[in-house]
Amino acid sequence: MLKTLLSILLASVIVNNYVLSKFLGICPFLGVSKKIDQATGMGLAVIFVMLLATAATWPLQTYLLAPNGLEYLQTIVFILVIAALVQFVEIALKKYAPALHRSLGVYLPLITTNCAVLGVTLNNISDGYGFIESMVSSLGCGLGFLLAMVLFAGVRSRVEKAIPPVAFRGIPITLISASIVSLSFYGFAGVVDNLFGGAL
């Protein structure tokens, strides 16, 4: 059991990294990665929302939608739950934890339309994970997102100082550097399988 959980965690942090190999959550990855502190704030907020969203959507799917044959409403229900949840968390944080709200709050509304959050909840269902496995997988995906954001913020601070050809300035050079960071994660493929003897 523990071995399965650990392999799910490691696989979602490094091998199936949501940003760098599944292309989910590219907008915040490219948009909020100019500074390391902003990247960290966004990453932490995403982990938080992913865990909450999974905790809310998994029981909904298992105990409400699936028994009543309402699986086709999955997309609508999940996006609404996530949007409402994010609003609610923001209000709650503002009232009860203003310090936390100041550091994470600004990133919360951005996350509603982040495809990584909706993606992780949908993937957990389609992978047939149980509740604990889903939570671990969400934690892993969130950590992977944070890792990618922080690493890329570091890379970008160096790229900002370079002088690329005119046509490559701005977005193109950012994408090329993302490609190289993604290439480095590509090297992890197979690591988890070898560690756990193909336990996946």
């Binding site: 490219l30 495809c115 050809p165």
Partner: protein, 230 residues
């Protein structure tokens, strides 16, 4: 703006992917083959046209303060319809697109057009705008998937290309190749159109359709920093 202009602007001048850089997730994820790119483009176009028309028709009824949740419900409804139709009639493509089909809901192009165009214009204009933007999106996906499939697997839409099949660069069909080809394409468009079209030089808030309803503090913070530098 004439009807043709509304339609044409999405194709090249304001191409949602290559000029405005929106909808990057599906662009990178579904362009490994021409077939899946085409399917993604057309599915998103169908959702975009329908949601643009519905939102434009409802523009006087939807209260301004809760418009974003309303738009999301409308869009999610059409995404469900399109994905059920695909599951029934094109099961192979449905399997191929997988989770990305459901993720059309959070595609910024669709929410962006609702916010920027459909809520201020008539139903007919909104449909044209959706069609133009959707075809622009499909065109960009086709261009990118052509490069990735031709050089990555030596085929085009499944047909083997004689010479290229012997010199494949498989990494192009993988994640790193996606970022790389996307970067090259945007650079090409920037080089070809330099100065002619308004182009965004970096990912920042003004180009993001979410900026209007996101925590503007991030954008404000960024602006004040930029002003401090200047």
């Amino acid at each position: 703006m004439s009807k043709t202009q509304i339609f044409i602007k999405g194709l090249i001048k304001e191409n949602p992917v290559l000029v405005l850089v929106l909808g990057t997730c599906p662009t990178l994820a579904t362009t490994t083959s021409v077939i899946s790119a085409l399917a993604m483009g057309l599915a998103a176009t169908a959702v975009l046209v329908c949601s643009n028309m519905a939102i434009s028709a409802l523009r006087k009824i939807i209260p301004d303060t809760v418009r974003i949740p309303c738009y999301i419900v409308v869009i999610a409804g059409f995404v469900t319809v399109v994905s059920m139709l695909m599951q029934a009639f094109l099961p192979d493509l449905y399997e191929m697109l997988g989770v990305y089909l459901a993720l059309i809901v959070v595609n910024c192009i669709i929410l962006g057009r609702a916010e920027m165009f459909a809520r201020k214009n008539t139903v007919g204009d909104s449909a044209l705008d959706g069609l133009g933007m959707g075809f622009g999106f499909t065109l960009a996906l086709l261009a990118m998937s052509t490069v990735r499939e031709l050089f990555g697997s030596g085929t085009w839409a499944g047909y083997a290309i004689p010479y290229l099949a012997n010199f494949k660069i498989p990494i192009l069909t993988q994640a790193p190749g996606g970022f790389f080809v996307f970067g090259l394409l945007i650079a090409t468009v920037a080089a070809l159109t330099s100065g002619e079209y308004p182009k965004k030089n970096s990912f920042d808030c003004e180009g993001c359709p979410n900026a209007k309803f996101c925590g503007r503090d991030v954008c404000a913070e960024k602006e004040s920093e930029e002003n401090a530098h200047a």
